[in-house]
Amino acid sequence: MRGSTQPRPAPDTVAAAAAADRPQPYAELGLTGEEYQRIRELLGRRPSDSELAIYSVMWSEHCSYKSSRVYLRQFAEKAPATASLLAGIGQNAGVVDIGQGYAVTFKIESHNHPSYVEPFQGAATGVGGIVRDILAMGARPVAVMDALRFGPADAPDTARVLPGVVAGISFYGNCLGLPNIGGELDFDPCYAGNPLVNALCVGVMRHGDLQSAIARGEGNQVILFGSRTGPDGIGGASVLASASFGGGESAKRPSVQVGDPFMEKLLVECCLELGAAGLLAGLGDLGAAGLSCATAELAAAGRAGMRIRLDAVPLRDPALGPAEILMSESQERMMAVAAPADVERFLAICARWDVPATVIGEVTATGRLQISWHGELVVDIAPETAAEGPVYHRPAARPASQDALAADDPSRLPRPSSGPELRATLLDLLASPGLADKTWVTQQYDRHVRGDTVLAMPADAGVIRVDEQTGLGVALATDGNGRFSRLDPYAGAQLALAEAYRNVAATGARPVAVTDCLNFGSPEDPAVMWQFAEAVRGLADGCQFLGIPVTGGNVSFYNQTQDAAIHPTPVVGVLGVLDDVRRRLPMGFAQPGLPVVLLGTTTADFGGSAWAQVAHGHLGGRPPSADLAAERAAASLLAAAARAGLLAAAHDLSDGGLAIALAECCLAGGTGCRVGLTGDPFTLLFSESAGRLVVAVAAGAEVEFAVLCEQHAVPATVLGQTGGDRLEVAGQFAVPLAELAETHRRVLPAQFG
């Protein structure tokens, strides 16, 4: 136990480090021997304990992107020419012009490791962290989403992790007052020891509100505001997020942060008021690597220097030493740079919001990051050496097992053929946890707060109104499919992109930008590195083709327990713009008598399909091919049709194919449908060919819509009509809506109570 009565140990200073060498615990802090030597070379001496603390967290995989950076460059190199990007990769989050003087910033980020160790706080602080990224850009956060992946729904540990994660997101997001408008929930044995908790936030600003994470202007004051610093989350970025699990994870709980959403709410309002008052010369959030990251990155960006008095940092625990303060990942903190003349007004606004704020240093012209502790210099480094970190070209090799996987084609699996068998297959899929109704989860999230939520779960994409007068709004969807990516990471990343793009298009929105959360195993495994390289190449090529840039995101490596890595799981978020949200397309069939039309082309695509998994526990063969030209044509068709008011409903086809899509349309709108199929009914119902949507055409718009489909060269097949209280496939089977609903809705409540 730390006791305040103990004498404070004298801190290791820069002078002491220069005077005397001694063994240092670099390995325990997550640094390799080579990295430690590199630090010594940079400094020309051993680092002080505080310097070692800074480098250990800043050079962690999580903060430095040292294994991924050589690949991530493709997102910039292949970025399509666009005038709409106001800030791109490298900022806290990308900023996209959406017209009418508005800009939107959005980003997705992982909180996987903490959410496994301590699900409630891990997931809660994942929301808090991504919200501060958006806030740091000068935007008002307006909505959140979560892409969640767990082990099998009936696994005992899932009963610990899933309810905790959902409760943590609910607790933090609801109290913060941000509507949760969508996301994903999926289950696969590969995530049993490494669940994926990816949190997305979107924020809105006027063009002039953009803030920069930069410290410049000699004499400007550095202000730390928000929560006081405590001993939580120490080493979160390094020992927790940048290492594989190997047992004893509960001992890592002190590396998980503890969230206070109430303080975050105050921080949001306070920051926005500071920005509106023009008092922010620079703004950064404290996330991974805490004060180490904020000081090093702000100072490095400004190419100036910074002097910090670490003993001025308000503490929750007075026994904390300088290295611990630098490594702490205590939540709900921000750092600002302000002109000396503005400090008084700055502090007054913070006081009005009951947000503690303290001047802890100033911008200098030395080019050095110098940190003192009770008058003694404990850090004296060039900030860019911490902020930039090493770059690794890790070995990458396609594993030989990939061939066997591809050769294990699902065509050998027994298939249903009779009507009753097809019916049973539909119900089995609807009752599989990944496809079952998600209300048990989404009902715990406030989707209504702020009053601008136009679409939310289970809609294909969440839609938020930005301007009440004009109806301008944005649509957002996240998608990822680890099974497809396992079979072919290049195609899998493109399929994730295609699905999110299609989901946004299904609301009638025009897709404009991308954020990604790349979840992989250990980069020290060449097979994982190959998966990563392929996925990034696929995503960058896909974005280039579709003409939508990647504006930012996050890489999460080390999602692996001992030798077992997760499926490579690139999760892609796509942002779209709706000029008038009143024209958005819902997914539900709400009226009888409307033509039901399938858009796109169906081939026999069962590699990695939901059917292969649910019916046979099978993963093999080839994933569907991603036809991005077809995706683009369908998206532009949907946008034109929505604008012209030709459609009553639209829904994308993905996991489980047409059968599941039709069931979801019927359930969402409370109206059945009758469809006829020409060809092999099993393939038509359950294949997962990409680039497809099902739509209900507005009354009287059949001809005009058919012409529009032809103009956009999108294959359109009239399947049947909406109406009645059952889903009927002519000549095969029919299921009453009540039975569909009961099958779909009972699954998660039965599992989780």
Partner: protein, 225 residues
């Protein structure tokens, strides 16, 4: 003339913006009121909006009742000022003893966000006069501590005096005593309701516009004098 309706923002209030939008859409003028200020800026009615005032720390509404603005609001409510507390606002009114009873953890121990049917039992208050007695409307319930509770004697008194303003009409969503969704004080000017009328003012963003009646009722009441 129209009615000026004050919307109080406490630290952690979240639906203040929504309440202001509802007042404006109903034809009134929303006036922001700050928790730390004295005086009610001459408003004709007050809404305490939903949210997590003071983080719901200690107990929902327990800290907000000591906010500076309550020094003026409590006597004004006693003197007949129409006051509506929605969700967290309802909790604050109970903590401030302007309304009887208390709100407890949902029976399922989880936060619930869902639309549901609510029956207006008393259309005699300034906030519900635009509804028919017995009228069923669709609102959004979104709360973790929304289970209305009072002892049996209090509940009997509330029923007898017609102080139950609204009741859940399609089953018990959260363990509320006698399906109570909203109550009023004896005089009728102070109303607390757990579901959110301000989230039901436009079919584009909510389940319809059934909730707008709370705000049009109050504005009409004020204008009629």
């Amino acid at each position: 003339m129209t009615a000026r309706v004050g919307i109080v923002t406490f630290p952690g209030s979240l639906d203040d913006r929504d309440a202001a939008r509802a007042v404006n859409r109903a034809g009134g003028e929303a006036v922001p009121l700050w928790h730390a200020d004295r005086g009610l800026r001459g408003v004709d009615a007050v809404v305490l909006p939903g949210g997590f005032s003071y983080g719901d720390y200690l107990r929902c509404g327990a800290i907000a009742r000591f906010a500076r603005i309550m020094v003026d609001l409590v006597p004004a409510a006693g003197a007949g000022l129409p006051v509506l507390g929605i969700c967290n606002g309802f909790q604050i009114l109970c903590e401030a003893h302007l309304l009887p009873g208390a709100l407890m953890r949902n029976a399922g121990l989880r936060f619930i966000d869902r639309r549901l049917r609510v029956r207006i039992e008393d259309s005699g208050t300034p906030w519900t006069s635009g509804y028919q007695p017995g009228q069923e409307i669709t609102l959004v319930l979104k709360s973790g501590e929304g289970a209305y509770f009072a002892d049996q004697a209090t509940l009997d008194t509330l029923e007898k005096q017609g102080q139950v303003v609204a009741r859940y009409a399609d089953g018990d969503p959260n363990g509320s005593a006698r399906l109570i969704a909203g109550v009023r004080n004896e005089a009728g000017n102070v109303v607390g309701i757990m579901p959110h009328p301000e989230h039901a003012i436009d079919p584009l963003t909510g389940p319809g516009d059934d909730g707008l009646g709370f705000f049009t009722s109050a504005i009409r009441h004020v204008v009629a004098g």
